[in-house]
């Protein structure tokens, strides 16, 4: 009973959804202000979600309807689970198990896979093109992402999330060291790609490929996909705060502001430029950061 | 020597009329059977650039204008042909010499009904694919006009 409450209400689905909608509104309002516009009112993400629920759901005739309709549910379940684990670690650092960091990494990796599955099952050639882009991008950014997480693990000699938070509270946050700063910068760049934001949103490009991975989705499945993206916008700054700042609440907002700034000042890059960037620059710097962390800097 | 003297020398007797509208605009009238050789002269030997072709349905026949441009001086030289047979208008295609003329000849065929002999791909370009046969909208007094409802 308590597990169900934690999964659905707090800190699970309802809490993450509402917090995600607030973060998404902050993102849209700041973007609008940077462009000297007004921007939408505060309940706009909620209006969008409710409006998508009342539209009819169309499944294309050439689509595999089981995978097409189950892929969004898979994505949102794993994101909710990751959120539950992260918030339990912040609130009650002793209550989790060894290796929960690895579980969170795996759960965050389910979203791109579910998106690719759903797009490939829809039977649309544009969606398969966008799914191939998402696949290539995922293979490019996942390795620097894991290496930058490894820096925290190496410096604190632990792999439990709770102990990562407690050790940082006692011995100083990871960002105090040179390898910590480098790892944080790499982490920030890879989560732009993970969240599907400019400059790495070529899988969901609106103007270029007419909606990309979500081209055939409409109604309730599209609402679930959009809600998943909004929840990721909340969870991933929390993850960054746990790893690099020791669970500090103000740092969540700081990471969000950095993400919004990068989003508003860059154009979209091509897929081959993105792959070259991640495999060449990011990987070398993240390996260098791991080596520095092992030495002790 | 400048371009207009060049053209007069190369074409020789094929020119029916040479008109200089203003210092940068020349109209050269030739007969329809000479169009392939004339286009080759202008495009290959004199290295002029083909701009576009225009067709119109006149009372005494179909008139096609081929516009060529000399980019160095800004002159435009136009070849004018008059196809007098209005029942079965035909002319040689120049798309074998100038690849860029393919589509404009398709457009002239589907809207005016001029047959271009030797054209590789004479299909509909602007009108829909199941347009009725022999219905050429830009001819005088024809076209599938919509009845007022």
């Amino acid at each position: 009973m308590k597990i169900l409450f934690e999964f659905i209400v707090f800190p699970g689905f309802l809490f993450t959804a509402i917090a995600g909608m607030v973060f998404s509104w902050i993102d849209r309002k700041v973007t609008a202000r940077v462009q000297w516009r007004q921007g939408p009112p505060i309940f706009q993400p909620l209006y969008d979600f409710v409006k998508l629920l009342i539209k009819e759901t169309i499944v294309p005739a050439s689509a595999n309807s089981v995978i097409f309709l189950l892929a969004p549910l898979l994505a949102i379940t794993s994101t909710t689970l990751a959120s539950v684990i992260l918030w339990k670690a912040i609130i009650n650092p002793q209550s989790l198990f060894v290796g929960d960091l690895i579980v969170v990494i795996y759960l965050l990796a389910v979203t791109p896979i579910a998106v690719i599955l759903g797009a490939s099952a829809s039977g649309n050639p544009i969606a398969s093109l966008a799914a191939s882009r998402e696949m290539k991008l995922y293979l490019a950014y996942e390795l620097p992402f894991i290496f930058s997480i490894l820096v925290s693990v190496i410096k604190l000699h632990t792999i439990k999330l709770g102990e990562i938070i407690l050790s940082q509270q006692s011995s100083g946050i990871i960002l105090n060291s040179f390898s910590g700063v480098l790892a944080f910068v790499i982490f920030l760049l890879t989560i732009q790609a993970k969240l599907g934001l400019v400059p790495f949103d070529m899988a969901e490009a609106e103007t270029e490929i007419a909606g990309g991975v979500f081209i055939e989705y409409s109604g309730v499945p599209l609402a679930i996909h959009k809600l998943n993206r909004i929840m990721l916008l909340f969870i991933i700054p929390v993850f960054a705060a746990v790893l690099f700042f020791g669970g500090n609440f103000l740092s969540i907002i700081a990471v969000l502001v950095l993400i919004i700034l990068i989003r508003n000042t860059n154009p979209r890059v091509r897929i081959d430029q993105a792959i070259r960037f991640f495999w060449r620059t990011c990987l070398i710097f993240s390996v260098f950061a791991v080596v520095l962390a092992t030495i002790g800097y | 020597m400048n371009t207009s003297e060049n053209i007069k020398n190369k074409f020789g007797s094929k020119i029916k009329k040479f008109e200089e509208k203003n210092p940068r605009r020349f109209y050269v009238d030739i007969s329809p059977s000479d169009i392939a050789a004339a286009a080759k002269t202008l495009f290959v030997e004199l290295q002029l650039r083909f701009i576009i072709a225009t067709g119109i349905d006149r009372r005494d026949g179909f008139e096609i204008l081929y516009h060529f441009s000399e980019d160095k001086t800004g002159k435009v030289i136009t070849l004018r042909v008059l196809i007098t047979d209005k029942e079965k208008p035909e002319i040689d295609t120049i798309s074998k010499i100038i690849k860029g003329a393919e589509w404009i000849e398709r457009e002239m065929w589907e809207l005016l009904g001029i047959n271009f002999k030797g054209h590789p791909n004479l299909k509909h370009l602007l009108l829909r694919d199941d347009w009725p046969e022999k219905n050429y909208p830009l001819r005088q007094g024809e076209g599938e006009a919509r009845k007022n409802d």
Partner: protein, 143 residues
């Protein structure tokens, strides 16, 4: 849920798809004007989407010609209902000078059902915003 209630919930967040039936592009430029900081329709919740399956409103510009009429009907069927259709510009509303042409198919409301007309050649962005406000009021049932 009744149809009118669904239309009411639609009015707070309208996602627009731009279906251009080979217009002269003046109306398209003015539609894109609405998204610029001077007029900013995002504060009403209006967003431009790329796929017709995400659309709540179809903005149709241009006089519909015989080559595109089948595709336009298919686009209308692909948009998930409830969906409203707005005819933007004189060419879509009534075809003005193209009405006796060999290639046109009639004004837009003889092809798909239309909810709002915004005349003008091209309509000013202020006229388009007024059209949107009147459409939202009509959907909510106010006068």
């Amino acid at each position: 849920m009744s149809a009118s209630l669904k239309l009411k919930a639609l009015t707070k967040s309208i996602w627009v798809f731009h279906a251009a039936c080979s217009p002269c592009n003046n109306c398209d430029i003015e539609i894109l004007d609405l998204l610029t900081p001077r007029y900013d329709v995002e504060r009403f919740g209006i967003q431009l989407v790329g796929s017709v399956r995400h659309a709540d409103a179809l903005l149709v510009t241009g006089a519909v010609n015989k080559k595109i009429v089948d595709r336009l009907k298919r686009l209308y069927e692909q948009a998930p209902k409830p969906c409203v259709v707005v005819a933007v510009g004189n060419c879509a509303c009534s075809e003005i000078m193209f009405r006796d042409s060999y290639n046109t198919c009639g004004p837009l409301d003889k092809i798909i059902p239309v909810n709002a007309y915004i005349p003008g050649c091209p309509p000013k962005p202020e006229a388009m915003i007024m059209g949107i406000v009147k459409l939202i009021k009509a959907l909510r049932g106010e006068k």
